[in-house]
């Protein structure tokens, strides 16, 4: 498969935990500045895919390339330093640290101390700078996690189920943020909220039992939720 303009390319990926294989021959490509969404039922292997790209799991076979550079075998912190940030599903920030300290950690790691970009997308965080992460709501924690990942102008954002368990107003806000981020950053998002996917995604991959069973690029098909037929 050739993707000359692909920022993030996954080819022939086989991943497993011990003897249990989770991903089978996964191929996908996210063109630079676009948002790709992986959808699928629980246990389909979506999170495993993101964890493998982020360097947390070593695949049995296949490659993960970003800008032509193979990411397989690199440590998670090396992948992060290449500008590929992973926002986990668990919505757990550093509970003992304040919002300010959480942002400072990201700033120090990236050398980017300009927090305006964070406050531009999530102005609410500005008023919570001295609040400990443990005292934030689920939506605020998600804002902080994404905001933290935005520091250093990431080249790729891997986001795992960002809207899970959040209030509709927060989901709406995150949807707007993703739409604004497209064009500046390449996004690969795992999401089960199909209306949101239909609104923001440029390409949708349906993942079923560890395999990519469909790649939908037609905007009308994405908007109409055609992916549901494959799940």
């Amino acid at each position: 498969m050739s993707h000359p303009d692909g920022a993030l390319v996954v080819e022939g990926l086989h991943v497993g935990y011990g003897e249990a294989q989770v991903l089978f021959d996964v191929h996908l490509a996210v063109p630079r500045g676009q948002l790709a969404a992986c959808v699928g039922r629980n246990g389909a292997g979506k999170t495993t895919l993101l964890r493998t790209i982020a360097g947390f799991l070593r695949p049995r076979a296949g490659s993960v390339r970003y800008g032509g550079v193979d990411l397989v075998g690199r440590k998670p912190y090396e992948v992060a330093r290449m500008g590929i940030r992973y926002v986990q599903q668990d919505k757990r920030v550093f509970a003992d640290l304040t919002v300010r300290e959480n942002l400072r950690l990201a700033s120090y790691a990236t050398g980017d101390w300009d927090w305006d970009v964070v406050f531009k997308y999530f102005p609410r965080l500005k008023g919570l700078l001295d609040r400990k992460g443990g005292y934030l709501s689920g939506g605020e924690r998600q804002m902080l996690m994404i905001g933290r990942a935005l520091l250093g102008r990431p080249k790729v954002l891997l986001i795992d189920e960002p809207t899970e368990g959040l209030a509709p107003a927060v989901v709406e806000q995150l949807g707007r943020v993703f739409e604004e981020l497209k064009g500046q950053t390449t996004l690969l998002m795992v999401e089960q909220n199909l209306p949101l996917v239909g609104r923001v995604a440029d390409v949708v991959y349906a993942v079923k039992e560890g395999r990519v069973v469909a790649e939908i690029t037609d905007p009308d098909a994405i908007r109409s939720g055609a992916v549901e037929a494959y799940l």
Partner: protein, 322 residues
Amino acid sequence: MSRRLRWWAGILIPFGVLAVARWVLPLPFLVEVLIFSVYTMACNFLLGRVGFISFGQPAYLAAGAYGTAFYLYYFGRDPLLGILVGLASGWLFSAVVGLVFVRLRSDYFALVNLALAVIVYHLMQKVLAPITKGDNGLWFLDRMTSTPVLDLTRPDGFVWFAWLVAVAVWALYKALDDTVFGACCLATKTNEDKVKFLGYHDFKIRWTAFVLANTTAALAGSLYGVYFGFVSPEMASAARAADPVVVTILGGTGTLYGPLVGALAYVGMKDLVSGVVGNWEFFVGLLLVVIMLAGERGIWGTLEPWLRRRWAWRRPAPALQE
């Protein structure tokens, strides 16, 4: 009060009280509280900031003590230089050991450190007996020469030196709390994976914290060595492995004043209660059980919120801001 002034007041007030106590409390008691608080600060940092529980602190204490003792017994006579040698040997020892140990977490880390204390004890008592003099230990009290300004060979000079060291170590850990490294340590304790995803080398963070804390423990060992002019394998005894952990919990894990309060309570009970009844450890154990049942926050951890509330009540309410 400006922020900087409050920062220094936070150090100078408690240690100022201790300095005044020099004329009230018995000198050996004060010296032990000061050295034990330095020893406990290391454990407090490991446990409260990085999430490492170590039952091997006597090994690092002994590394510093024997480094100082070897220098003062075989090579030189200057106690200040002896302390520097002890500090260096503690740093080297923990730097090498840390390369392996910090790969482990939780109970494995605790037990491998306990095993290290047993090994160090055995090395000092048997294997290296020709140079450590085994159970007889190394005596060098009469070999040490007087030092200028504060004479470390005299208890009334040493107590001020120990006070200065305790203030410096305490200021270091207080300053670390406000640094990115301090935040990294706390983040590692909370969620190691997320630290990696931010682009940090988690191993380096844990190793640096481990070496820093155990070099502090070695510094406490050096101070003990110079104060007593004597070092024996008992210093590395696994029977005393839980002491710094107990004092850390007693004072309040992860709190800045915890090590000082814990050391005061522990040494105080040891000295006061042991004067009345023989089994003072029974009362320390009882107090620990009560503290755990009261909320697992230790003496300072329980007092601090109450004091903060009192302080906030006395201060005028801040003006509301938009």
